[in-house]
Structures are given as structure tokens and as C-alpha cells.
């Protein structure tokens, strides 16, 4: 029987703690200069985001390019894009956990963190598109004395509010639950009083008691169990925002599975980009092995093909339905004024990932880095194509238009990328990027499988 090579390479449990914790334990001042430079760049972009949002609020959402008939444009494109990216985190942490995929343990923590940061970036867009973000609590059924009205629960937009806020909350609880034993490890390893107290409080007094682990594992399993349908529901409900309307190009029943597959696709690509960077800069080759990367590339191939199937299906239905508006929309999508956006999307999402059928491509670091980025470009274009091309040719030819983003649109989107990367960099520096206790579990399992081999591997 062929035995797969070990997933993690560490001499023993202590070596593992050492490998992961040492990243976050060094003196803050002694962090490599390249880290501070990167953080400086990303946080300046975040400041740009703050400036753009201030400008938007003080002037009005007219500073964005949205105008009739394209009332939803980059804002909702970016919203769906970021929400989609978030999906990989929950998928890795929840669905792969339920399937007992041990390789997930090296990547789930950073993927979950990525989910949280992506959902934060996503939330910015609808929040500011309302024009009055300080009234955001009107989105929730808080008994309000101002309006004597309630939300319209018949609208998918309010479902979306519930879906996205539930998603963020559950992801946060899941992430923190997973983090607690590792925070306890950091507390116990801490030398300075400050770190002991800070991690002592954050770890809530975790001491690894077997009685606690029993409840902990139950909680973790339940959280994984409920996150699995949750992650599928979130993008389903996001797709309802479009699918329940009557706009050709939006009004399709294929949207929920198509959106979910696309979300996982883009999310995995984004995890890939971040992990490749982290693996390279922080020397995590022992913990994030080629096996992890290859598995992720397989998922990218599968979900990319599912997305390709959905595109084909949309075209087929447009022809088969005999609906002239539907036919026009899809013809216009591929060959109309936005042909360049549509073909970028087809190339990046469907054609390029097909390279992953070749094993050498799946295992080549430069190839996977490039594909992870083209995939995200493609998935951004997918949302842009769905939203803007469907709207720019609506039922009334007299109101047809062409959307051009303003510089505020562009800087706001760039700003969210800055915010995302800033948060991720801070996370990678100050919290354990890899689930120490979970990887130790895998190591214990592999010690059984590879008795004697572990020492050899470590000696390499």
C-alpha cells in the first residue's frame, strides 16, 4: 500500500509549538523590515479607504459612478466579490473538518481569519451605499421609535442582511473557539508579564482539561456542522438579491449553486495567494507542504469547472427558453459593449484553471501563484459582468447606458484591498497563523502511521 508522505514535518510536539509560536513571539521591533514596509504600504491604502468613505459620506453617493440604469455597479460587485472570498475560510474550516480532511489543519486558521477580514471589506459597500451608514441599525428589527415601520421581510435584501451578519458572527465565534487553545499555548510560553496577562485573559483560563476538551470538541463539531449549511446559504441568499428580480441575466434559478461554486473558487484562490506569500516570507514550508497546495489546486480546478458549466448552462437556457430578452442579454454579454469584461471572466475562470489537469502545473509554485491571482481577477469580473451588463441594457432602450467607474470607485475598492491585507498582516504577526493544537493532533496520528520516519523527515 502506498503511504502518502506526512502532512506536517516536525520533530515532536514541542518543535511544532516552537515553529508556529516563534513567528508571533519575536520582539516587535525585531520584525523584519520587509514586514514593516509592506504594512506601511497596506495601511496607507487603508487610510485612502477612510478618506474615500469620508468623502462619500460628506458629499453623497453621487461620487460613485452608479447612475440610471446601472444603479448597482462596483459597490455591489465588490460586496459579492469579498463575500465570495470569505467562503473559502468557512469551507476549509467547516466542510473539510466534517469530511475529516486532516490537511486542512495547516491552513484553516488563516483561511478563517481571511473570511472575517473579507466579510468586513464586503460589509463596507452596502453599508455606505445606503448613503446614511449611521442609520445602519435600521437594517435590523430593532424596535424603532422614529419610523414605526419594520423591515420588509419579503425582500431578499433583508435576508441578505441576516445572512451576512450571521455569517460574520458565526465565523468570528468559530475562529475564536479554535484560537483559544493556541492562545493558551502562547500564554504558557510567554516570558514577559504583559504577554502572560494579555494571552491569559484572551485564552479565558484554558488549561487543556480533558473535561473541557470534551465540550470543546462537541462545540467545534457543532459549529462546523452549522457553518456548513450556513456557508452554502450565504451565497445562495446573496444570489437571491439578483435571482428574485425580473431583470434578464439575473432572473435565473441556476444562481444559487453557481454563486456558491464561484465563491468557493475565488475564496480558495485568495487563500492560495495569501498562503503562498506567507509560506515564502515566514518559511512555513514544513507546515504548508506541497500536498496542501496541490489539494487546494484540485479544488480550484473542480470549482472552476463548475463555474464554467454554469456559464454554459446560462447560454443554453437563454437559447432554449426562447425568451428574446434573455437571448439578447446573453448575446450582448459576450459580444456587446462589455465583451472585454465577459471574455476576461471566461478566460480567467474557466480556461486558465484547466491547466491544473496537469500534475506539474498543480505543483508549480509560480504557476499556482499566477493562477490564484487570475482567478480572483476573473471572479471579480464575473460579478461585474452579472451586475453591470444585465443592467446597462434594460427593458427601455431609451435609458440604456454605459457604466464608467469614477476615481472614487476605484480608490474605494483599492482601499478595501489595503484594509484586507493590513488586517491579514497584523493577524499573521500577532496571532498563531496555524492551529497549533490541531496540527499536534495530526502529528500524533502520523506518529502512529510513520513510526521511525518522523525523525528521518525532521533530519532532512
Amino acid at each position: 500500500m502506498e503511504v502518502n508522505p506526512p502532512l506536517v514535518r516536525a520533530r515532536d510536539y514541542h518543535d511544532l509549538s516552537e515553529q508556529i509560536s516563534s513567528i508571533v513571539e519575536g520582539d516587535v521591533i525585531k520584525t523584519p523590515r520587509k514586514y514593516w514596509i509592506t504594512l506601511g504600504i497596506t495601511s496607507s491604502i487603508t487610510i485612502l479607504l477612510a478618506a474615500m468613505l469620508t468623502y462619500l459620506v460628506s458629499t453623497g453617493i453621487g461620487v460613485w459612478g452608479n447612475n440610471r440604469p446601472i444603479g448597482w455597479a462596483w459597490d455591489i460587485t465588490n460586496f459579492v466579490f469579498w463575500i465570495g472570498i470569505g467562503h473559502a475560510g468557512t469551507l476549509i474550516s467547516a466542510i473539510l473538518f466534517l469530511f475529516r480532511q486532516k490537511w486542512r489543519t495547516s491552513i484553516n486558521r488563516s483561511a478563517e481569519a481571511m473570511t472575517l477580514f473579507a466579510v468586513m471589506c464586503a460589509g463596507i459597500f452596502p453599508l455606505f451605499h445606503t448613503g446614511r451608514p449611521w442609520r445602519a441599525y435600521w437594517l435590523f428589527p430593532v424596535p424603532n421609535t422614529d419610523l414605526s415601520m419594520w423591515q420588509n421581510f419579503r425582500s431578499p435584501l433583508i435576508w441578505d442582511v441576516f445572512a451576512v451578519s450571521t455569517y460574520f458572527t458565526v465565523s468570528l465565534l468559530f475562529w475564536y473557539t479554535g484560537l483559544v487553545p493556541d492562545l493558551a499555548t502562547l500564554r504558557d510560553r510567554a516570558v514577559s508579564k504583559l504577554r502572560q496577562v494579555v494571552f491569559g485573559i484572551l485564552s479565558l483560563g484554558w488549561r487543556g482539561s480533558a473535561r473541557h476538551w470534551t465540550n470543546y470538541e462537541a462545540a467545534y463539531l457543532i459549529l462546523a456542522g452549522i457553518s456548513t449549511p450556513l456557508v452554502l446559504s450565504v451565497h445562495t441568499i446573496v444570489s437571491f438579491d439578483f435571482a428574485t428580480s425580473v431583470i434578464p441575466g439575473w432572473h435565473t434559478t441556476i444562481f444559487p449553486p453557481y454563486f456558491v461554486a464561484g465563491a468557493i473558487f475565488s475564496g480558495f484562490a485568495c487563500v492560495m495567494t495569501l498562503l503562498l506569500i506567507a509560506r515564502w516570507t515566514l518559511n512555513l514550508q514544513n507546515l504548508i507542504t506541497m500536498k496542501h497546495l496541490e489539494n487546494m489546486n484540485k479544488i480550484i480546478l473542480v470549482t472552476g469547472s463548475v463555474v464554467g458549466y454554469a456559464y454554459a448552462c446560462e447560454f443554453f437556457i437563454a437559447w432554449y427558453s426562447g425568451n428574446i430578452y434573455e437571448r439578447f442579454t446573453f448575446w450582448n454579454r459576450a459580444f456587446g459593449p462589455y465583451w472585454w469584461a465577459a471574455w476576461s471572466m471566461y478566460s480567467c475562470n474557466v480556461f486558465i484553471p484547466q491547466l491544473y489537469w496537469i500534475k506539474a502545473m498543480r505543483r508549480s509554485l509560480p504557476v499556482m501563484f499566477i493562477i490564484s491571482i487570475t482567478t480572483n481577477i476573473g471572479m471579480w469580473f464575473e460579478r461585474f459582468v452579472i451586475i453591470v451588463t444585465s443592467l446597462h441594457r434594460d427593458f427601455l432602450p431609451s435609458s440604456w447606458g454605459y457604466f464608467r467607474p469614477t476615481w472614487v470607485d476605484m480608490c474605494t475598492f483599492a482601499g478595501t484591498i489595503g484594509l484586507f491585507l493590513t488586517l491579514f498582516l497584523l493577524f499573521a504577526r500577532f496571532l498563531p497563523m496555524i492551529a497549533i493544537s490541531e496540527v499536534k493532533g495530526v502529528l500524533a496520528y502520523e506518529k502512529q502511521l510513520f513510526k521511525g520516519q518522523a525523525v528521518e523527515v525532521a533530519a532532512e
Binding site: W150, W159, P181, G205, R211, H212, A219, I222, I436
Partner: protein
């Protein structure tokens, strides 16, 4: 702040005879499970382990019952479902009868997405908060943390605890028992 356990005990007026239990140290999770099973066979009932990751088989070895968390979660989760339906029904069909788009004031179908989300949300809070409540956490101080190597229980050591409130507990004998099942280091921990 003086953090010496002796000084703290003096300050709080707790006598030196106050013992939390006896802790034995192991290097390997399998040894821990084996040892735990044998200690339990000796008749001890108040046992615990402290491990850096969940060790499979330790619950059964130490006689730790299955977690009841699932039952809590399902009850709270169903409350979430009910909350959603009641909320949508009350807001739409009772408090503010406002017809939008010719749709009914209340219907089961359009309540499903929110009912689903609130079920998940309530369940998540129940499992998160319920887990901490069942564990008696957050709790910053615990006598087991007085053990010399307690900080390694989150690193690479596997600790087996015989607690002092075990009816069979007698510090010296418990320590010998732990040593007899293979613990490298054994210590009586005060607390």
C-alpha cells in the same frame, strides 16, 4: 504583585494542608490513555487530564461523560427558528400591516431564509457560550496551574490528575499509584 502561591495562600488564609490533587506527567498521549485507564481501574473517580490537544480515548478511560452541549444547542437553535417566524409574523401581519408588491403580510415561504439564519445564529451562540459555561470558563485562576509543569500541558506534556476530592484520595498513595502506571514526574499540587 507577588504571585508566589505560598504568599497568596497566606494572604487568603488558606492552610498548607489544602491540596488540589496529584498530577503525573506523561510524554505521549497513548501512555496517558493507558495510565488513565489503569488508574480508574484502581477505583479513582475524580480524574482529569491536561493535554495540548484532544486525546482520543481519554474520555472513556477517565469516565468523562459525553458532552450535553448538543442538546442545549438544538433547544436554543429551535428557539431561533421560532423567534424568526414570530418576529416576521408579528412585524408584518400584526404590528405594521403594510402590503408591499401585493405579497401576503405573512407567509411561511418568505420567512424561511431568515428562520434558517437565525437558527444558525442562535445555535452558534449556544454552542460557543454553552461550551464556556459547561467548562466553567472564563476562569483566570485554577489550582492545577500551580503545577510546576502546567505550562507544558499546552505544549508537549500530557498530565493526569487525581483530584483531592476523590473519596479514595490520599496524597502519598495517589502519587505512588501514578508512578506505578508510568508517570515520569509526580507532584502533589496545592491550591
Amino acid at each position: 504583585m507577588n504571585l508566589d502561591p505560598k504568599a497568596i495562600r497566606e494572604k487568603l488564609g488558606i492552610g498548607d494542608d489544602k491540596v488540589y490533587g496529584v498530577i503525573g506527567e506523561f510524554d505521549d498521549p497513548h501512555e496517558l490513555v493507558q495510565a488513565g485507564r489503569r488508574i480508574r481501574e484502581m477505583g479513582y473517580t475524580k480524574l482529569d487530564a491536561m493535554t495540548p490537544f484532544p486525546v482520543h480515548g481519554i474520555d472513556e478511560a477517565l469516565g468523562i461523560p459525553r458532552s450535553i452541549l448538543g442538546w442545549i444547542v438544538i433547544c436554543v437553535g429551535l428557539c431561533g427558528t421560532a423567534t424568526a417566524f414570530l418576529l416576521i409574523w408579528y412585524c408584518g401581519a400584526i404590528n405594521d400591516k403594510f402590503v408591499i408588491g401585493g405579497k401576503p403580510l405573512f407567509d411561511f415561504t418568505f420567512s424561511i431564509p431568515i428562520a434558517f439564519e437565525l437558527t444558525i445564529l442562535f445555535s452558534a451562540f449556544a454552542s460557543f457560550l454553552g461550551m464556556w459555561a459547561l467548562n466553567g470558563l472564563p476562569r483566570l485562576y485554577h489550582p492545577a496551574m500551580n503545577y510546576r509543569d502546567a505550562h507544558r500541558a499546552s505544549d508537549d506534556k500530557f498530565l493526569l490528575v487525581i483530584e483531592a476530592d476523590d473519596p479514595k484520595f490520599e496524597a502519598q498513595r495517589a502519587a505512588e499509584h501514578l508512578r506505578s502506571v508510568g508517570a515520569e514526574t509526580v507532584e502533589v499540587v496545592e491550591g
